[in-house]
Structures are given as C-alpha cells and as structure tokens.
C-alpha cells in the first residue's frame, strides 16, 4: 500500500480509537487526520483507513461521500466557504458571491489556476448574527462587505 501514516499519526489513531467501545466510531477523526496528511481522500486513502479500522473500503467510501467536509478532490490553499442561506441571503450574500467569482475568475466549486483559492457556497455556518458570513479554511469571518472581502482576499499570501 503506498499511502500510510507516519509513526506519530499511527499513535494518534490508537488514541482516537480509545474514546469508543468500537473502533469504527473513530472513523471521522481518522478521516480528518488522513485529510490533513494526504490533502484529500482518494480511493487509496479510503483503503488505508479501512485497514486501520478493520472495515470494508466500501463502508469508508459511504461515510466519506455522505459528509460534506471530507474532500474527495484537491482544493486550493484557501478554501472559501461563503454561506448563502437565508440570513446571509437577506444581508447580501449574493452580491458577495458575485464579487468573489469576478475577482478570482472562478465559479462555485472551482479552484484558481495557481491553486490558491477554491470557492464553495455552503449551508448555514451558525453565524447568522454576523451575516453575511464565510469561513476560509478553519477561520470564521463575518459582517462582510465587498470592500472588506477585497481587503481580506488581498491580504492572503
């Protein structure tokens, strides 16, 4: 098998499993770890995770495809997740989405040619008091305006 965790990550997997009476409950955390290590979840990674948890690869694949935060394709260095659910929609999310598309020259779901940005429109982020809101990787940004958005995107190296 060509993908595998380094020693310290294998120890982490053992720790993750210890939280549950059954190994397979740790699948979520192991997939996050795999994503961090390998960038995204390929069929090969699914096989590897399956072997760590004594599960069939098809089971792992079902889990990966069910949840939206496991990446099956590579994304840019910065994953922009703009919420356009109701509260954000009421506060101007559509204009912001257009602004990002125009600025980066990509559509929703696409990555810029230099691999720097990927754009997603996502469901409610639970930050409606900050609408319109978005996340870039694991950081939340709120009360966005077109100018604020411009400055933010320009500031990312």
């Amino acid at each position: 098998m060509s993908v595998s965790f380094p020693e310290k990550d294998r120890k982490l997997v053992e720790e993750m499993i210890r939280h549950y009476p059954h190994k397979k409950s740790a699948i979520g955390d192991v997939l996050y770890l795999a994503q961090k290590q390998f960038g995204y979840i390929t069929p090969e990674v699914e096989l590897y995770v399956a072997s760590l948890l004594d599960l069939p690869a098809s089971y792992v694949h079902q889990v990966v495809t069910f949840y939206s935060m496991y990446l099956e394709k590579p994304v840019g260095k910065y994953l922009i997740m703009l919420c356009d659910n109701v509260s954000c929609l009421l506060c101007g999310a559509e204009d912001l989405l257009d602004r990002i598309k125009e600025k980066l020259g990509i559509e929703v779901g696409e990555t810029t040619g230099d691999g720097k940005f990927t754009l997603w429109s996502v469901e409610c982020l639970g930050a409606c008091e900050l609408a319109p809101a978005m996340m870039i990787n694991d950081k939340l940004y709120g009360n966005l305006t077109p100018d604020k958005l411009d400055r933010l995107l320009d500031s990312l190296e």
């Binding site: 409950s25 069910f66 639970g126 008091e129 950081k139």
Partner: protein, 433 residues
C-alpha cells in the same frame, strides 16, 4: 420585560471560558453541591422536572421527564450525549454558549450524567465549529486537572469522562438518532423510534441526548432553585431561553429572555428594530423549519411554546429570522427548499424525492418560468412528505413551503403569472418567426 442574565451573563465577562474566571463567578458550585450533599439521581431529576426546563434544541420535550426514562436497573454502560451539532439555519446560540461558557455546559453535563449514572459523555460538535471545539477541548482539560472530570470527581468516587466528537458537515446529524448513527461511525441516517434512545441508544445502551443550551441551564436551575426558573415569564410553561435574532434588524445577536416576552419587544427593543426603519414583512420564529409568520402575527405573538403553537408555528430553536418589506419571499422559500433537498439523507423516498421536486419547481418559478399548476403541485408534494418519513426533516422541509405559499400566495402568484405571460409571449414570437 428586561433581558434575563442567566447563561448570557457569561457573554459579558472577559475570559469567562477559562476555569478560574468561571469559578470566580460562582461556577461549579451546583455540581459540587450535588456531589458533596450526595443527591440521589431522583432528587436531581425531580428538581429539573419542577423547573419546567424543556429541550431547547427545537423539540421542547421536558428535560427531567426524559432523564427519568433511563432504566435504573440497567447493567452496563449508559451514556449522555451533548447535541452541539447546531445547524438549523438561523440558529447560533449554542456557539455563543460554547465560546463563552464552556464550563457551564460541562457542569450541566456532570449533573445530568450523575442523574442517569453515566460515566461517559460524548459532545457531538458540528465540524464547522472549529473555534468552539478548541475552547471546549481546553475547558475539558482544565476541568480534568481540577478533578471535576475524570476519576473520582469532586472526591466522590464517581468517574466521568467527556469525549469530544467532531461532525463533518451534515445537518441531519442534529436529529438525535442520526447523531447516534454518526457517533457510531456510520453515515448520519436516522433510525425509527421506538426503541427510544433512553432505552436503546448509543452502542445500543440507554442514552440521553440533550442540547447545549438545555444542559447549560441545569446548574442554574440547581443553584437558583426550580421554582425560580419555572417562575420566569408565563405561568405553567415558564422559563427562559436564548433567542438568536438575525436578518434585517439593527442589532442581530443573542438575547436571553423570559418565555412569554412579546416578539415585538425582541425585534424592536432588544434587536434595535428593523434596518432603515422599514416596515416588517415576515418572521421565521425558530429556525427555517418553523412555519413563517406574517408581520401582523409576529407583532402580536408572545415568545413561548404555547403561543407559537396556538398560531400554527413553533418556537423551534429560537433562531428568529426577521424580514423587512423589501424581502422577496419567493426567493427565500427557494433557498430554504434547496437547503432541505441538499441535506436530506436520502433514506426515505418522500423526503429524498419530494425535496428535490420542490426545489426544482421553486427554481423554475424564481427564474420566471413558473407554471400556473406549480403552486398547487408544491402544496401537494409538501402534503405527501409530511408525516411520511422516519425523522422530522421531511416535515421541516414541507412546513415552510405550505406556510410561505398560504401566507404570501399573492407574491407567488404574481411571480408565476409573470412567468406564464413571458412563456406565452415567447411562444408567440417563436410562432411569428
């Protein structure tokens, strides 16, 4: 009525997420009291029952009654699961609780775990809540180091381990049986009830699932007494809760109010009124799955379980979305339909197919190509989904469709007829060519 400051007082204290600050403000005294005074589980449960505390994730089930369902003679593990998968559009109160008062949640979880004799607590937190996850992670460590979690808590001989479990982006996992499926390492598919989780839940063991805010009120109920809490607001159905206001208001945010506070007061006083002084058009009272209210209804109704039920809606998760007169109701409903269609887990046919159909019809109407039959078709499909699915997501998808069309039918009709006229004239011009 002024805001009450029970949970929300911690939102205003600097570094309230740290153990030292929490304890300086009276933290962990309720749990310590329950343990050192050797409260029997029955005493804890009766206190919570007397307080009238209800599930604040959306269902509103009496908390003490739920705890009492756990069999006392069960041999083997029992579990407490904290539902921190806050995902109902318009809802963000639990995020604030976890960021500012993680120890209040942990203290409530300790007391709840003692009441059902559980030694393991799982906090299922939605994957997007990175910051809250880190805050909770540190709070758990602090509580373990202080001897409030882990082995022999408060020197009592009880053990309690709190585990943090991250979700990975699936609204359905906020539904309790789907959450359990997800915790067990499966995709988040809801299960039929019965068996109820209190008898056969996580890993097939008796399990109580409580929302973040619900558990965070438990130490307050113990500390101030159940009569105090039950006495807040309306008679018979009293208490307090956190209202999250968003949309077209001047001061969106979380406001803690006694139940029975007029919605008018929440919108116009606490949340600062409508932006640019515009007239109100509609309000979604408790997350997008609750039937929408017209301005007239919203300005008359009080914020308690019975008042909202009385006008055919729900208090839900108390995520109040305010819409002013400029709002395009057709577009808002379309967005809601898209959400439920995307989040349907795909297990039950009426929901899986129905949410897709409703979304496609709504998108057609929004794009100006609506047909005269569309509104009746939408109501028909919504009616076929209602009560025909394993979990409440089906109803959550159908109720907004029904209420939006019933209450704002003229807006939908004018959009549809504009579409029909456009379609007819383009047919005509095609024939002319």
């Amino acid at each position: 009525m002024p805001q009450v400051k029970l949970i929300s007082r911690f939102f205003e204290i600097e570094n309230s997420h740290r153990l030292r600050v929490y304890e300086e403000n009276g933290g962990y005294s309720a749990a310590r009291r329950v343990v050192t005074e050797n409260w029997e589980p029955e005493k804890i449960i009766n206190t919570v029952k007397a307080s009238n505390l209800r599930g604040l994730g959306g269902a509103g089930f009496p908390t003490g009654v739920k705890w009492d369902f756990v069999p006392k003679d069960h041999e083997g593990p029992k579990y407490l699961v904290v539902n921190a998968d806050e995902s109902e559009p318009g809802t963000f109160k639990d995020r604030h609780v976890m960021l500012h008062a993680p120890h209040l949640l942990l203290e409530g979880a300790i007391i709840a775990a003692l009441s059902i004799d559980a030694e393991d607590v799982y906090i299922y937190i939605r994957g997007e809540y990175w910051e809250a996850y880190r805050v909770l992670e540190r709070a758990i460590k602090e509580a373990e180091e202080a001897g409030y979690l882990g082995k022999n808590i408060f020197g009592s001989g009880h053990s309690l381990k709190v585990h943090l479990h991250r979700g990975a982006g699936a609204y359905i996992c906020g539904e309790e049986t789907a959450l359990l499926s997800s915790l067990e390492g499966f995709k988040g598919w809801p299960k039929l009830k019965p068996p109820f989780p209190a008898l056969q839940g996580l890993f097939s063991m008796p399990t109580i699932i409580n929302n973040v805010e619900t558990l965070s009120y438990v130490p307050i109920v113990i500390e101030k007494g159940p009569e105090y809490f039950a006495g807040l607001g309306v008679k018979r159905s009293g208490g307090a809760r956190l209202f999250g206001v968003s949309g077209h208001v001047n001061r969106p945010g979380v406001y803690e109010l006694s139940l029975g506070t007029p919605m008018r007061e929440l919108i116009y006083e606490h949340a600062g009124g409508i932006r640019q002084g515009r007239p109100l058009k509609a309000v979604i009272p408790g997350g997008t799955s609750c039937p929408v209210l017209t301005a007239e209804e919203a300005e008359k109704v009080n914020l308690d379980f019975d008042s909202l039920a009385g006008i055919g809606s729900m208090l839900g998760s108390a995520g109040v979305i305010v819409m002013d007169e400029t709002t395009d109701m057709v577009k808002v409903l379309c967005r809601i339909c898209k959400f439920y269609s995307f989040e349907s887990c795909g297990q039950c046919t009426p929901c899986r197919e129905g949410t897709g159909w409703m979304t496609r019809i709504m998108e057609r109407i929004v794009s100006g190509n609506g047909r005269s039959q569309d509104l009746d078709d939408l109501l028909d499909i919504a009616g076929m989904i209602c009560e025909n699915t394993i979990c409440p997501l089906g109803d959550a998808a159908a109720l907004p469709v029904i209420s939006f069309i019933q209450k704002f039918r003229h807006e939908f009709e004018s959009k549809v007829s504009a579409g029909s006229i456009a379609a007819a004239s383009s047919r005509l011009s095609a024939e002319e060519l």
